[in-house]
């Protein structure tokens, strides 16, 4: 097919295409050719393609209607494989060499669709039909639904990962101008001149908006030339950022706006570097909305047949793209503005069959001009029905009464292949509406204007209901100067003279939302309101007959406005039809609230670069590289990567952990404990403050000593634990859990800053500063002695729960003698730059003792053997210290009522039968209970069972030769010796005996090994 509809140059206009650069593309597998500057839509029209898709519900053939974001029908699957994109509007896709486009609906093809539903069969699917059917028999619903789902969706997602990348810029500006049409351009220029930081964004590939298709002149220049000069001027400002191909998709609180910039889509390649799309996160001091307006379609019978188009779109295809989408035009209008389309069509050398004007006496200047060209104007008439199959063949025209509500004359038939429609214009109030501004109906423009501003914004030009070019230019300039001034730049006065524009004076339009038909609406051929979702005027009336009154109910019942065009064309007509059916005015009926996105916005762009390995920071300790080199398996603990276990070649996890566990208890092991949170606390009130936060007291903790503490939330439940050391006068170091570090610091700050500011104490996180190498086991002292000569390590010199400063392998270190394994343990802390050095030195020193690096799994096993809890694993936010059998850590005689203390006395906290921490020893020594197994007393009871608790930690203990588990069991502390049961999903029920939670070395002697 060649470009049958491509026009040769037309006098007095300049298209934006370059006819000398052919571009090949395919549509539904067919090779076609367009030219540089084309959109996919203009190229398809140039090639005479009529049917571009099938409708969602009734599968009716559909053609291109519009030329931009409002397009409801031309929904395309673009590209193939991993880079395919579903649901792009052909009107917004720039043509590139090799572009592959396919219709999203229609099987086996859009021209021959087996699913097409016509005539009265379609009547079986009125709005809401599925709520009324498919209910019986109940069992069959999932089968019905299976078939309903088969028909769902427009295009298809890729099945592979996205090959492209996306990024974001955080932008801050004084003035953001949305839309680079005439109003936006002059606004930007004034604001820029005043010195404001300006961003101008426009969704199209080039700036100019409606002027790109205009035949008007500005200051004696063709509009497109005037635009080119102005854009060049804007680009000359250092303080202006121009963003073409950039859609402002959402307007959020405090003048935050999202812009999606399409950077490579028009190139048709997956960008090898940089990003396919970029989201600009803009914080603007002032915003100027100059987003334009959408022409309103006219609703008449079978107005969805391909060849029924928007009048302004026809002009745009002619003037901007050099395409005439047909031969014989019937123009159907309610206003003067659309007469220009007849002039454009005439000038393009095509036939204007007639202008059908619903107004009984159109008499504007432009009407006269059109008549001067010899074009017939049928005043007081309307197109009541389009006829044709896959293309309009004729328009049925009849005389209407003055209100346009009734047919008052015979029906005439006009042969044509194109019906261009204009029901007036609807301002693009979407972004204003995002801010919560309530749109205001204005009879004078037959549309909603933006409501009272809720943010620092103003609307200008067509999106404020100002349609005359001169008005747009004046308003835009004023808004630019004003916004700049409010943002602190300039004096608000205009700098540039206003432009001279010649334009027709327009006469009032007529409000016409539903063109009458000879049959009443319920029986007339479908008069479509929302084409994408096949919502018709009769559907809206039906919803009203069924008792729905709210516009939101109607929308939801009929699905009107829920399409990917978000009702840009249909909503106003739909609301007006609803208002009429309810016997109300449009303002009484109200409008719906537009929500972001203005146009659909790529998930990947909203996600940005924070995916894959950058999804969340991976935090490393100073020894991470060593662990990785040893082949450690890692566990995610919060953002940290911690070694989980260190398998030898050929070893299973189980084998590795058993080996590590035995090594620690028999000789010595080494653990990277650097991830524990560490907070430095200084100040004269430090001890008092810490004592308020922990359950026990620190007022008498001596220099050189450590103490273990538990922290509660005010509700009495355990939320963190750790050791706190007294480092000096008014100086402490607090250890927190790995995951709790940031939360504990914020918690301390909260109480100090907001409740007890009179307590003099400062907190500083030192988690990253210190690297901690923990050596533990009966040979730990011997290992340490080899690398540390300046500390007396003897048991009675450097006691359990002491700390000392000294030198380890030549590095100043702080050593804590605390223990999470029950063995003799030294936690050696050095500044992290020395972390790897100290680690390697200890490994070397321990070699003769077979020092064994171990990970978190072995750490867990060893501490469980000792009955030490892990907050977050053995507790879950509903556990008190008493529940954990840790009454000993609660200071009963503290004068200050520490955080959480009062809650420990609530009736539920002192209730009998709370879940309490116990040990479980399986009857079969080799069976390891699954963590998370539920505990019951009577295994034979029927479901639902009475659950008494659950297993929180469970391991095989190689040291003990049997499995061990910690559990919380109701009243567990008084149930030692009882047998409980764990019924598992695999059908097994495992019996276990409740035992002490301390399985190993109950007297705690091993940490004092000589």
């Amino acid at each position: 097919m060649n470009q049958v509809n491509r026009l040769s140059a037309v006098e007095g206009t300049r298209t934006r295409i370059d006819g000398t650069v052919p571009i090949n593309f395919t549509f539904n597998g067919k090779q076609l050719q367009g030219v540089a500057g084309d959109t996919l839509a203009s190229a398809l029209l140039a090639n005479g393609v009529k049917v571009v898709g099938r409708s969602f519900k009734y599968s009716r053939p559909r053609g291109i209607v519009g030329h931009g974001a409002e397009e409801p029908n031309a929904i395309m699957q673009i590209g193939s494989g991993a880079a395919t994109v579903p649901n792009l509007k052909a009107t917004q896709v720039e043509l590139y060499e090799g572009l592959e486009a396919a219709s999203v609906n229609g099987w086996p093809s859009v021209n021959f669709d087996l699913m097409s539903i016509s005539g009265w069969f379609g009547r079986l699917m009125p709005p809401g039909f599925y709520y009324k059917t498919f209910m019986y028999p109940a069992k069959l619903w999932m089968t019905y639904e299976h078939f309903i789902r088969k028909a769902a969706g427009l295009g298809s997602t890729p099945v592979q990962s996205d090959p492209d990348s996306y990024d974001k810029l955080n932008q801050h500006c004084d003035v953001l101008v949305v839309g680079a049409g005439p109003a936006g351009l002059v606004a930007a220029r004034e604001a820029a001149r005043a010195g404001a930081r300006v961003i101008v964004a426009d969704e199209q590939n080039e700036f100019g908006g409606s002027l790109l298709a205009s035949t008007q002149t500005i200051d004696g220049q063709l509009a497109v030339d005037w635009v080119a000069d102005l854009v060049a001027e804007l680009n000359g400002f250092d303080n202006v950022q121009t963003l073409p191909r950039s859609t402002v998709f959402g307007y959020y609180d405090h003048n935050f706006l999202g812009i999606l910039e399409r950077r490579t889509d028009h190139l048709g390649i997956s960008a090898a570097a940089g990003s396919r799309q970029r989201m600009h996160r803009v914080r603007a001091k002032q915003v100027i909305l100059a987003a334009g307006a959408f022409e309103r379609p006219l609703v008449f019978a079978h107005n969805d047949i391909p060849g029924v188009m928007q009048a302004s779109s026809v002009s745009t295809y002619v003037n901007r793209y050099g395409v005439a989408p047909g031969s014989r035009l019937v123009l159907f209008t309610t206003n003067d503005n659309a007469y220009q389309t007849a002039i454009d069509w005439h000038r393009a050398g095509r036939q204007v069959v007639a202008i059908v004007d619903s107004r009984s006496q159109p008499k504007g200047d432009i009407v006269a001009a059109v008549k001067g060209l010899g074009i017939e104007v049928m005043a007081g008439h309307g197109v009541i029905e389009a006829q044709g199959g896959k293309r309009v063949k004729r328009a049925l025209v009849a005389r209407l009464n003055a209100q346009g509500a009734d047919i008052v004359g015979p029906v005439e038939t006009l042969a044509c292949d194109l019906i261009a429609c204009s029901g007036g214009w609807s301002p693009a109030i979407h972004l204003s509406s995002h801010t919560g501004a309530k749109p205001v109906w204005d009879d004078s423009i037959v549309g909603f204007r933006p409501g009272k501003s809720k943010q620092q914004e103003r609307s200008v030009g067509a999106c404020a209901g100002t349609y005359a070019l001169s008005g747009c230019l004046d308003d835009g300039a004023r808004a630019g100067a004003e916004a700049a001034k409010l943002a602190g730049h300039g004096d608000g006065k205009l700098y540039f003279p206003s432009a001279a524009v010649e334009e027709y004076k327009e006469q009032p339009q007529q409000a016409l939302f539903l063109v009458p038909h000879s049959k009443k609406t319920s029986r007339a051929p479908s008069q479509f309101v929302d084409m994408q979702l096949d919502v018709s005027a009769s559907g809206i009336e039906l919803a009203v007959r069924e008792g729905f009154e709210s516009v939101e109910h109607i929308k939801r019942y009929t699905a009107m406005g829920f399409g990917t065009d978000q009702g840009k064309l249909g909503n106003i007509n739909g609301m007006a039809i609803l208002a009429n059916a309810l016997g109300q005015s449009i303002p009484e009926t109200g409008t719906t609230i537009f929500r972001p996105s203005y146009t659909p916005t790529t998930f990947g762009a909203i996600a940005g670069r924070d995916i894959g390995e950058l999804f969340d920071p991976e935090r490393y300790t100073a020894m991470h590289r060593w662990h990785a080199e040893q082949g450690a398996e890692f566990e995610d603990v919060g953002q940290w990567k911690r070694p989980w276990y260190f398998p030898h070649v050929g070893e299973s996890m189980h084998q590795a952990v058993n080996r590590e566990c035995l090594a620690v208890r028999k000789s010595v092991g080494i653990l990277d404990a650097s991830t524990l949170g560490k907070i430095d606390i200084q100040g004269p009130d430090a001890a008092e403050f810490i004592t308020r936060m922990y359950t026990n007291s620190y007022l008498k903790l001596a220099l050189g000593k450590c103490r273990y503490g538990v922290m509660l939330k005010e509700d009495g439940m355990i939320f963190d634990d750790g050791v706190c050391a007294c480092l000096g006068d008014n100086h402490y170091l607090m250890f927190t859990t790995t995951g709790g570090a940031a939360g504990v610091l914020a918690w301390l700050e909260l109480w100090q800053q907001t409740e007890w500011p009179h307590l003099n104490v400062y907190f500083t996180s030192v988690t990253d500063h210190w690297t901690t190498a923990t050596i533990t086991g009966p040979n730990a002292r011997k290992v340490l002695a080899k690398v540390c000569g300046d500390i007396e390590l003897a048991n009675d010199e450097f006691k359990f729960m002491d700390w000392r400063d000294g030198t380890v392998a030549g590095v100043a270190a702080r050593i804590f003698r605390i223990s999470f394994t029950g063995e003799l343990t030294y936690e050696i802390n050095v500044p992290a730059h020395y972390g790897r050095h100290i680690w390697e030195a200890l490994i070397a020193a321990g070699e003769e003792f077979g020092i064994t690096p171990y990970g978190t799994e072995t750490m867990h096993v060893l501490r469980a053997e000792k009955g030490f809890i892990i907050v977050g694993q053995d507790t879950d936010g509903s556990m008190t210290p008493a529940d954990m059998n840790m009454d000993w850590v609660v200071g009963k005689n503290k004068t200050f009522s520490f955080i959480g203390k009062r809650s420990l006395q609530r009736s539920d906290s002192v209730r009998e039968n709370r879940k309490q921490l116990v040990g479980l020893k399986t009857i079969d020594a080799n069976t390891v209970l699954p963590e998370g197994a539920q505990v019951v007393f009577d295994a034979k009871q029927a479901i639902p069972m009475s659950m008494q608790g659950h297993v929180t930690s469970s391991y095989y203990s190689a040291n003990l030769g049997h499995s061990i588990a910690l559990a919380v069991v109701k009243g567990g502390h008084s149930r030692e010796g009882q047998i409980v049961h764990c019924p598992l999903a695999d059908g097994r029920t495992i019996a276990a005996e409740i035992v002490s939670s301390v399985f190993y070395d109950p007297k705690g002697e091993r940490q004092n090994v000589e």
């Binding site: 209910m135 509700d715 998370g932």
Partner: protein, 416 residues
């Protein structure tokens, strides 16, 4: 009430759909009711329905400030499941699930309850412990569920990424086959139609502005259309509970927060189940229309604005793109927010109050939709008998004084 069926559809099609019965009446409020339900969302309408159906109390009005089902009922992501951890919550949600299973037939309105299963993913060892614990508890409570491997997850949702190389690889999931989704609007409309047919007055576009009491006993409500008397007032105003409570001089353990959601453009079926991940914070399903329906976590601050902050959405879509790398090229069509009443233990409040005749049903947080039938059922019972339904006992306000919380989020992170 004329019954809906395939036959009635056919019959009405022959008469050009000109003779359908109104779905409900639009009555003028009476001077006095036995029970006034404040709030015409799903829960309020269900409460009215069961009051009339189960307890024979039909002199009931539902007073709604906007349109029926226009609050969180219209704004949620329609996920239904009952695999809650604690016995009290699990039993309440499972009652609800059982009611869902016959709801379309009960109401003669197809609420499109679709049992396509719910996956709750685990990404670290503690997630997996919690999943094991929850699934074990569910099974022993008689609730379906199993722990599934990444390979099984991939079978259920083929586009999901189970690679071990990603930042937080999927280690497993809980799988509840009876879970799924329903058509949210239809639930409200179905209950409304059912309640109306039983004589309940549905009064829309009428705002309750005060709760009138006499000697500590409720006597009715002030509204924008005047005073309406009632012996009992039951408040079911999710997202506004604190405001309504203040009308009676009460304060609740509730903070109202924005919760955001979004849908993509419709795409051909590619996800046949519901996938939720608390750890990376996103959940997703695909509607019968083809939209990918995505929910986010709760915003950090209190807010009644029905909108939240963009960075929450950004994080959620990062999570979705991590879980489903193929969805990166899909586009967000619409985003919105609701207002959720969060409680300290992520469990609802179904309770009498210190004011005689005044009842509250609130605090469902992010999980209210799935509870709609069960919530209405036990609340109707509580109001009718002036005594908590056995399944509602644990959800009394008193628990915040005794400390007997049902710490559902302590174990599950976020209880969507």
């Amino acid at each position: 009430m004329k019954k809906y069926s395939g036959f009635s559809l056919l019959k009405n099609a022959l008469s050009y759909h000109e003779n359908w019965q109104k779905i409900w009446r639009s009555p003028k409020p009476k001077a006095d009711y036995d029970v006034i339900i404040v709030g015409g969302g799903g829960h309020g309408l269900a409460t009215a329905y069961y009051l009339a159906k189960v307890h024979g109390i039909t002199n009931v009005a539902v007073i709604e400030k906007g349109y029926l089902g226009g609050g969180n009922t219209a704004r949620n992501t329609t996920i239904i499941r009952s695999n809650y951890l604690w016995d009290e919550a699990a039993q309440l949600y499972d009652l609800s699930l059982k009611l869902w299973e016959g709801l379309s037939q009960e109401l003669n309105y197809n609420v499109m309850f679709s049992q396509r299963g719910v996956l709750n993913l685990g990404h670290n060892l503690q997630d997996m412990r919690d999943i094991e614990r929850r699934v074990n508890a569910n099974r022993l409570n008689g609730i379906d569920g199993e722990v599934v491997t990444p390979e099984r997850i991939k079978e259920i949702a083929p586009l999901i990424n189970i690679s071990r190389d990603c930042r937080y690889p999927i280690l497993g999931a809980s799988w509840q086959p009876r879970g799924g989704t329903a058509r949210h609007d239809a639930v409200a409309w179905g209950y409304a139609r059912g309640a109306d047919a039983l004589g309940v007055d549905l009064i829309q576009e009428t705002e309750v502005t005060g709760i009138r009491r006499k000697n500590g006993v409720v006597v009715g409500v002030e509204t924008t259309k005047g005073f309406i008397g009632a012996r009992k007032v039951a408040c079911v105003t999710a997202g506004n509970s604190g405001v309504v409570a203040a009308m009676a001089g009460l304060r609740l353990p509730v903070e109202s927060r924005p919760l955001q959601a979004l849908v993509s453009e419709p795409v051909k079926p590619c996800l046949d189940t519901v996938v939720m991940s608390n750890a990376v914070h996103g959940y997703i399903s695909q509607s019968d229309k083809g939209d990918l329906v995505v929910g986010a976590g709760v915003d950090g601050y209190n807010g009644y604005g029905q909108r939240g902050s963009m960075h929450v959405i950004e994080h959620t879509l990062q999570a979705i793109c991590e879980l489903f790398p193929a969805f990166s090229r899909v586009r967000m069509n619409r985003q919105w927010g609701g207002v959720v009443d969060t409680t300290p233990d992520a469990c609802p409040i179904i309770s009498k109050t210190s004011v005689q005749g005044l009842y509250f049903n609130c605090g469902w947080g992010t999980g209210g939709f799935k509870a709609t039938p069960g919530s209405g059922y036990v609340f109707a019972d509580t109001v009718a008998n002036d005594h908590p339904h056995p399944l509602a006992e644990a959800f009394d306000l008193e628990r915040f004084n005794t400390g007997a919380l049902i710490d559902e989020h302590g174990a599950a992170g976020v209880a969507h």
